[in-house]
Symmetry: C2
Subunit: 327 residues, 2 copies
């Protein structure tokens, strides 16, 4: 019994050690906008073992507003960590890595900056010069697209999930609305924090389809849910980090950053790709990813349910199966 | 030539006289909430001639944020005014009829209050005790549903168009978000007015489907369009009238106001009905109207395009044809 308990504790502590948040200081980091972030820090978590050939690493950066902590139960169940070395990374600006909330005079950043900082983490700190795969969900999918054009030879495979290579009219309308709601609150930090209450409901209006809400929620609970969502956002989401990541997303356009047209992409992109979109996504419009997948030779999976942007949760079995088969 | 000119001027002035905005003072109006609006005024416009039997009147109240002026080119082309006497009415709270913007201490109102004030206008001022039809779009459709249960014997026919008998979870989420954005601005009237800038984009995110925006707009024009929509809303929409009408919509539930269940409606409702919904409506959720049309014996038309709540514009030919055949 004692031995069993010891084994359990040992295994649990191993898992904890793997789970545990690590920080890498990548030094002076120069942004695309020409500013420098001194002592730029990236937070990350690793799972599994890097093999001797260093050929089994998968990078999985965070979604908008997300932390590597949130990815554990998600990416963690999607990737076989007995086989792969999984690196979850907190994207710049998310409040865990260097961000407006923890760094004075934090400059505007782009999705390419997120990618470049992750490149520095891998090559300088983890001494990994090649990835087996890069993948991510939502803003993690945007980073995946950007990785493909920033470092086309760096990965074997890439899986952008409900991400986009380029922001559409509707994406801009949504992100600018959330941003403006915070700015409307003025300069007072408490007022800006409180504006996250309204950002919460705008965000939720677009996270899933109306059909999903009608199917899963009762009208009489709406007011309590609105209150709760607001409370959660005010507590958990810093408005300056929110704007920072929105600005990064708004800047995204792989055709601009690469100087390559869609027609030139099949030649330019080296990795094998699996593109996963949610056809009813009201948060990250799927059209640009669909257009991309039509021209570039990729595996392609559509999530068609009423969950919209939340389809990776609602249709997680389909996602896991497709990812597993592709990897 | 002079005679022709005279005839033209005569006809044009007749049209103008019909078009012209009239005001009726319906006196002390008691709201469902127990408050009184003194000298309550309803604005309206009439087209065509009331026949001797007073059997050809059609009432068409305004949509949310709309004025009878906006209905002229809409209802005006939908209804044959050589045959029908069309009455466009500015719903209470819309800024033309008695509203927060023109009446001190204007109380909260409900959709039923809008209906009761229109009933008073018809019976007391226009001496019309029976309608051939009541119809309306969006909040005008909500008023149509409410009319059916408030005065079941008052009309021969009723056409709610992209309206709803009852607010869903998603409707509440949307209207409460717009309301909260104004409240977030605090008590300063200029700040509340300026909050309409953010209300504009939240509204637009839900007016049509993402597909519609992707199809009709260019991403590079998004920022200018957001600015323009904000300018328009700040200029044209009073925040207190906006909240007043939102509160009215949020209160709407014909099952509550009538005390009748959906199963009891076929017995209770006397008018012949044509229910028109937009299946992809992200502003007024169509589910409640669909459920209603399944149980109550109505004619039923679905608008299925990507315009969402704007379908009555995009699919106006289909609407006109259905309305014309039904009337």
């Amino acid at each position: 019994m004692k031995r069993l308990l010891f084994l359990f504790c040992f295994c649990a502590s191993q898992l904890m050690a793997q789970n545990s948040l690590k920080f890498a200081n990548i030094g002076s980091f120069k942004t695309q906008g020409g500013k420098t972030i001194q002592n730029c820090k990236l937070a990350y978590r690793t799972f599994g073992e890097l093999n001797a050939e260093k050929s089994n690493a998968i990078l999985f950066p965070t979604w908008f507003g997300g932390k590597s902590e949130n990815l554990v139960s998600n990416a963690g169940t999607m990737i076989d960590t007995t086989k792969f070395y999984l690196i979850l990374v907190d994207a710049l600006g998310n409040g865990v890595s260097s961000s407006p909330s923890n760094t004075p005079a934090f400059p505007d950043i782009t999705i390419r900056d997120m990618v470049n900082s992750e490149y520095a983490l891998l090559t300088q700190k983890l001494h990994i010069n090649h990835l087996y795969a890069i993948m991510g969900i939502s803003m993690g999918g945007m980073q995946t697209f950007e990785w493909l054009v920033a470092y086309p030879d760096f990965m074997e495979k890439a899986i952008p999930i409900v991400g986009t290579p380029k922001q559409s009219y509707y994406d801009i309308l949504l992100w600018k609305t959330e941003w403006n709601i915070i700015e409307q609150a003025g300069k007072n930090p408490a007022a800006r924090k409180n504006a996250m209450r309204q950002v919460a409901t705008v965000h939720n209006l677009n996270l899933a389809t109306p059909d999903y809400y009608i199917r899963t929620e009762q009208a009489e609970n709406a007011y309590a849910k609105i209150q709760k969502a607001g409370d959660d956002y005010v507590t958990n989401n810093n408005p300056e980090n929110w704007i920072c990541q929105i600005k990064a997303m708004l800047s995204q356009d792989i055709y601009k950053t690469s100087g390559k047209s869609l027609a030139e992409m099949p030649e330019y992109i080296k990795a094998k790709m699996l593109v996963i979109v949610a056809t009813r996504d009201g948060m990250v419009n799927p059209q640009s990813a669909m257009d991309f997948a039509k021209v570039v030779n990729t595996k392609y999976v559509e999530l068609t349910g009423d969950c919209g942007h939340l389809a990776t949760g609602c249709e997680s079995d389909k996602v896991k199966k497709a990812v597993s088969a592709f990897l």
